[in-house]
């Protein structure tokens, strides 16, 4: 039971984290009535996961060999793109909302970006979704025995715990100031996206589309990325116990490029789209 609990908690953690942030974000910018974008994105993610789970079970041959890999890569890189885009945008607005009064972002301006929120929710759920569906499915077929039932229950509780974590993030997010939330989540999403980018590049390397590089370091004896703490760090900031040089390079390169893209804004002049055309103070 404990084993399956950890698996689903781990698979659900990233989705819960992203959904928690996304809902808090909507609430923070005063777009609480647009939760639907996040909900629809998440629901579509679940739907797509179930569909992919069904399709994978029905597939065979080359489609089964390469289809899931291609989709996984597509989702990873799509997630990296939308997270980067959103992080950049959020950083721009962290400057606009800095001040004594927590000014709500001009809603019209926020609204035309809401589909990005939906897309983030979608990729967040879909990324590990199909895997989780197949895992749960397998457990349910064996839930008739006592041990099988305990395993299925453990898996279910793992998902509940992940959801609770997401909820806790949402609740906790209410109590921190807007610009701190923006700064915190910009940084967090940046690390999250860096981890994803590195994972995607690692997959390409494993598939032979990138030259093979050797292992950069091995810290599995200190913190294995299979363990509880290690796998959370893996989901959160892309921690790897045995990354390849290419994966490390991808991580660092992403951080450098996306980081400078996001935080460079702090010293440049404000964008003309800043509400009311006021020169906003700098955020960190």
């Amino acid at each position: 039971m404990g084993g399956t609990f950890v698996v689903t908690l781990r698979e659900g953690f990233e989705a819960a984290l992203i959904l928690g942030i996304v809902y808090t974000y909507l609430q923070k910018i005063g777009a609480g009535r647009h939760y639907g974008y996040a909900t629809r994105g998440g629901a579509l993610g679940v739907l797509a996961s179930v569909l992919l789970g069904l399709v994978v079970t029905a597939l065979s041959g080359p489609l089964l060999d390469f289809g899931p890999d291609a989709i996984a890569l597509g989702v990873i890189f799509l997630a990296v793109v939308v997270l980067t885009w959103h992080g950049y945008w959020m950083q721009q607005h962290a400057r606009a909302v800095k001040g004594e009064v927590q000014r709500r972002i001009d809603e019209a301006q926020a609204t035309h970006r809401l589909w990005i929120i939906g897309l983030i929710a979608f990729t967040g759920v879909f990324r590990e979704g199909a895997e989780t569906v197949l895992f749960l499915w397998g457990l349910l077929t064996q839930a008739t025995s006592t041990s099988g039932f305990a395993s299925a229950l453990g898996a279910f509780l793992g998902l509940v715990a992940a959801a609770a974590l997401g909820w806790a993030i949402f609740r906790g997010g209410q109590h921190i100031s807007l610009q701190r939330f923006f700064a915190l989540t910009s940084a967090l999403l940046l690390l999250l996206a860096a981890g994803m980018f590195s994972t995607g590049i690692g997959r390409l390397e494993a598939l032979g589309f990138l030259p093979q590089s050797s292992t950069a370091w091995d810290t599995s004896f200190i913190l294995d990325d299979q363990g509880m703490v290690g796998s959370f760090l893996n989901g959160l900031i892309g921690y790897r116990a045995r990354p390849s040089f290419i994966e490390v390079a991808a991580y660092v390169l992403y951080l450098a490029v996306a980081g400078s893209l996001m935080f460079r804004g702090n010293v440049s002049k404000p964008r003309p789209t800043t509400p009311e055309g006021k020169v906003p103070a700098h955020a960190t």
Binding site: L64, L204, L207
Partner: protein
């Protein structure tokens, strides 16, 4: 900004198409059978020639899905119940590479390249 992202996305799509193209045009390479049965991989130790790419033909005999995973090889591949999946493995330097079933940690094994 917008243009940069468009370029990025176009680049990624092109990359994926290239990936699919190359994958389907893969050269014939040695195939090595690996079976997941109950809580075990058979064989639990796979011997391969170093520096030669090969294909692991993984068959899942269980009634539930498995996920062939290896941190050392950076491979993660779902194998649905009763299915067979080809896992392309790059040329390996001599050494030992551990793998396991991510859905059932009791099942582990290793590849020994020499």
């Amino acid at each position: 900004m917008r243009r940069a992202f468009t370029i990025t996305i176009v680049g990624l799509v092109a990359g994926l198409v290239a990936v699919a193209g190359r994958a389907s045009a893969a050269d014939p390479r040695p195939e090595i059978a690996l079976t997941i049965d109950k809580d075990q991989f058979q064989p639990a130790e796979v011997k391969v020639k170093a520096n030669t790419p090969f294909t692991l033909v993984v068959t899942n005999k269980n009634a539930k899905a498995a996920e062939f995973e290896s941190k050392d090889l950076r491979v993660e591949k779902v194998v649905p119940a009763g299915k067979t999946v080809n896992v392309l493995i790059r040329a390996l330097k001599p050494g030992t590479y551990a793998f396991f079933d991510d859905f059932n940690k009791a099942a582990t094994g290793k590849i020994v390249a020499e």
